[in-house]
Amino acid sequence: MWHYFIVCPGVESLNDVGGKVSRMREGIICLICSFFLAVGGGACTSPQQSDIAPENRTGITSDEILIGSSLALGGHAGYLGTQMLQGAMSYIRHINETGGIHSRKIKVTFLDDRYNPAQCLYNTQKLILEKKVFALFCYVGTPTTVRIIPLVNEARIPLVGMFTGANRLRHPVNRYLINIRASYYQETQAAVDFIVKRKKFDKVAVFYQYDEYGFDGLRGTEIALKKYGMIPVAKGSYVRGTLDVEAGLEKIIQSDAQAVVMIGTYDSCAKFINLSMERNFSPLFHNVSFVGSKELARRLGSNGEGVIVTQVVPPPNFNHMAKPLPGVKDYITVLKKYYPDSKPSFVGLEGYLNARILVEGLTRVGKDITREKFIRAIESIDHYDLGIKNSLSFGKNDYQGLDNVYYTMIKQGKLVLIK
């Protein structure tokens, strides 16, 4: 605005000068102003890269849609990856057999990362660069998935369905990271709600795995407790891959906690519960979904009675229910058809649901599939019924589908849904 400002005093002082000179002066002032404008304008036109991604059809051929996945198929977490892949593949094979999506078949390329973040990164680079997949799908674990966020951002490739509730994959909002399950924050929030509201306990301790996953759960629990004006009475931790839970246990026993929110894996958590039972310390043990409920129940045996596990999907069996949930029933049906040896599991159901969303998104795009169109199609999914009494919604700034958490309790070695 200042160049307008300059002209005024100049013109004012012209009153005593002849018209000719006045015109000349105006010309000079214009000249100077235009100089400043040119310089200023030049300064302002710094190169700006546009944020609009070009339409990308990588991985889409006339009869195939290439999907890539890097997950643990072997090693100590191999069970998770295998179950998840079988759940997902049973639905994808079902879709491929019934005509595919707009006459295209889904082809999933899966690489084993053995739950190793480095291998996961390497695999992902390979999938994007060499295999030229359209989208990434069904990743397992927090450290592995967090590792590949930069690649996802750089390649602008959608990643659908991760077996982790880590906050890092949800905040800041990233439209390429399409989460389906509820977050650890939501799980711990549900756990705290259950402990404080239902059980009226006010001494809550936290036992967590000393890594990204454990910290995430700890933060979630602390945030949830803060809402009730509470802080954890004790915090115990253990190092991932070890079973050194004693120190943490001691701290928690000393605090005389009424409930313990546990963010760990089945082996350490089972040891923790078994040890505390031995010492006649029996508060309410509250685990989150990642613990691996089935294995936890098996390891606890009779000690497991009354242990609570929050789940992001309903239990994949209908023995204890009057009427099976249709989504769960479909899962069990396709799993039996394509993987007759495999037993239904929470992880498998999650994989199955991931595949349902992938297929739904691809179907909604139509014939001409691009990555951006796919993400827009995912955003358009609103109140979608998966048949699990938990409607799924995405939105412009909401890339997490399911928000509800299920409470299950171990009763006689089985996980039972509680209301």
Binding site: V21, F36, S46, Y122, Q125
Partner: protein, 492 residues
């Protein structure tokens, strides 16, 4: 250049200083830019080498074990966070130049394999290359086990990154320069005004003086106006002084010209008493020679007459002295009729001898005015002689037989005292009417007139708050009218 020459002094100073500042600003901007580019480029290279060395140290073990996954992690770690803008790519290769790990996610540049293979990777070096239409500094750092090279880390540093950094800085810098330029815009404008004000004032006064407006030439006034800014400059002071002096001299010179013109008439005036004295003294001599007795009454009469004539001559000389005396612009209460009579005494007889009727039509009841006798007399003298010259010119040119006539009348008009000097002379042509009061304008022949008469008259009249106007019909006469505000009115 013509354009520049046509500008006023103030604008010349203004534009030159502004131009100087602008050029200086641009030079500084260019200099700083080049400095920034060199500095930042150096810094970028240093950081690039640092990053590559860090990666090289960490990757040694993985290169030996060919752990591609960990190498990939290392490569990607180099691009974490802000470093992503700077590090375009990072490649880890083995000793054969085969790529083991890299950070290309979206696509593999066509020429990169060849580039990596052709690097002299045994020692650290930086080259400038183009990868995928991206201009980068390609940094190569060897990975050594003992003294032998087992591989290399090659980093591409984005040159665009420097450009972005500079463009940010440029914005800040240019705003700063713009501010400086704006300040200088005003400063130089003020400075130009400041420098040229005294000069402009001098020029204006010079113009006014040539138009005959002397009343502004009061030294104090001039000083105050010229040095309103508080500045003192010896040259200009001197100039002002000599200016005031010259103005005064000019008036005096004009007066002397008048005296010259008067000399014939004055000679005649003085001759008369001298003749009378001579006659008287000769009569007395003659009587003495004849030894005749002079009657007591006659003797007394002759002596008295001689005395009277001497007094008369003395009065003429005295008046001349008074007229020619240098006088200032001081004001006193005078009666305009006295001035007319006084002038009449000096020049009236001369005009009469040229066979021109001089008619005085004076209103004795006109009020007093605030002026100076000498100056007003000079004005009237000029008008008288102009009228006479006009009459003579008419008679000479047209062989007209109509007798010359000059009428001087005074009257009061609406608290003003008016004097008109009208003649039946040749008159003034309408196209010359506008220029009669201009300096050095004359219709007279070379050497006859100075052309300073009327402008000086106008200046004097204006100085006493009066006005002078002229009406004329060519061929039949001119009438000058002077108006002074009456003194009684001003007091009352």
């Amino acid at each position: 250049m013509n354009f520049f020459n046509e500008l006023s002094l103030k604008n010349k100073i203004f534009i030159s200083s502004l131009g100087f500042i602008l050029i200086l600003s641009i030079l500084i901007a260019l200099f700083t830019r080049s400095l920034l580019i060199t500095g930042l480029t150096g810094e970028l290279k240093k950081r690039g080498v640092g990053i590559a060395q860090g990666i090289a140290d960490s990757s040694r073990g993985y290169i030996l074990t060919k752990n591609l996954a960990e190498l990939t992690v290392l490569a990607y770690d180099a691009r974490l966070g802000n470093r992503k803008d700077m590090v375009e790519y990072l490649i880890i290769s083995d000793d054969q130049g085969n790529i083991l790990a890299h950070t290309f996610t979206t696509g593999f540049p066509l020429n990169i394999e060849a580039i990596v293979k052709n690097q002299e990777y045994k020692k650290e070096n930086i080259t400038s290359i183009d990868v995928d239409r991206h201009s980068v500094f390609h940094v190569v750092v060897p990975v050594k086990e003992g003294i032998y090279t087992i591989g290399s880390v090659q980093v591409g540093l984005d040159k665009q990154h420097i450009e972005n950094l500079i463009s940010d800085l440029r914005l800040v810098f240019l705003s700063f320069l713009s501010m400086v330029s704006i300040i200088f815009f005003f400063l130089s404008h003020r400075l130009a005004l400041h420098i040229t004000r005294p000069v402009t004032a001098l020029i204006r006064y010079a113009d006014q003086i040539t138009k005959g407006e002397f009343n502004i030439i009061s030294k104090n006034d001039l000083d105050r106006q010229i040095f309103a800014t508080g500045a003192k400059d010896d040259e200009i002071t001197k100039l002002t002084d000599s200016f005031v002096k010259m103005t005064s001299q000019l008036i005096q010179a004009s007066k002397m010209t008048n005296l010259e013109k008067m000399s014939a008439g004055i000679a005649h005036e003085i001759n008369q008493p001298l003749n009378a004295i001579k006659m008287g003294s000769e009569y007395l001599c003659m009587m003495k020679e004849r030894k005749q007795k002079i009657k007591e009454a006659d003797f007394k009469m002759v002596l008295e007459e001689i005395s009277t004539q001497v007094s008369r001559a003395a009065e003429i000389v005295g008046r001349l002295k008074r007229f020619s005396r240098k006088s200032d612009f001081s004001k006193e209460v005078i009666h305009i009729n006295d001035c007319i009579r006084s002038v009449n005494k000096i020049i009236g007889r001369q005009i009469f001898l040229q066979n021109i009727d001089l008619i005085l039509d004076l209103d004795e009841s006109v009020p007093f005015v605030l002026a100076h006798n000498n100056r007003v007399e000079q004005v009237l003298f000029n008008l008288f002689t102009n009228a006479r010259d006009a009459v003579n010119e008419r008679i000479e040119k047209s062989k007209d037989i109509e007798k010359g006539r000059i009428t001087i009348s005074t009257f009061s008009d609406n608290n003003n005292v008016c004097v008109t000097v009208s003649d039946n002379g040749s008159g003034i042509e309408p196209d010359q009417m506008d220029s009669v009061f201009e300096s050095f304008y004359t219709t007279k022949e070379m050497g006859e007139g100075m052309g300073l008469g009327l402008p000086i008259i106008k200046g004097i009249v204006k100085n006493y708050n009066g006005t002078i106007t002229v009406e004329s019909i060519p061929g039949s006469g001119t009438c000058f009218k002077i108006m002074f505000p009456s003194h009684s009115k001003e007091n009352g």
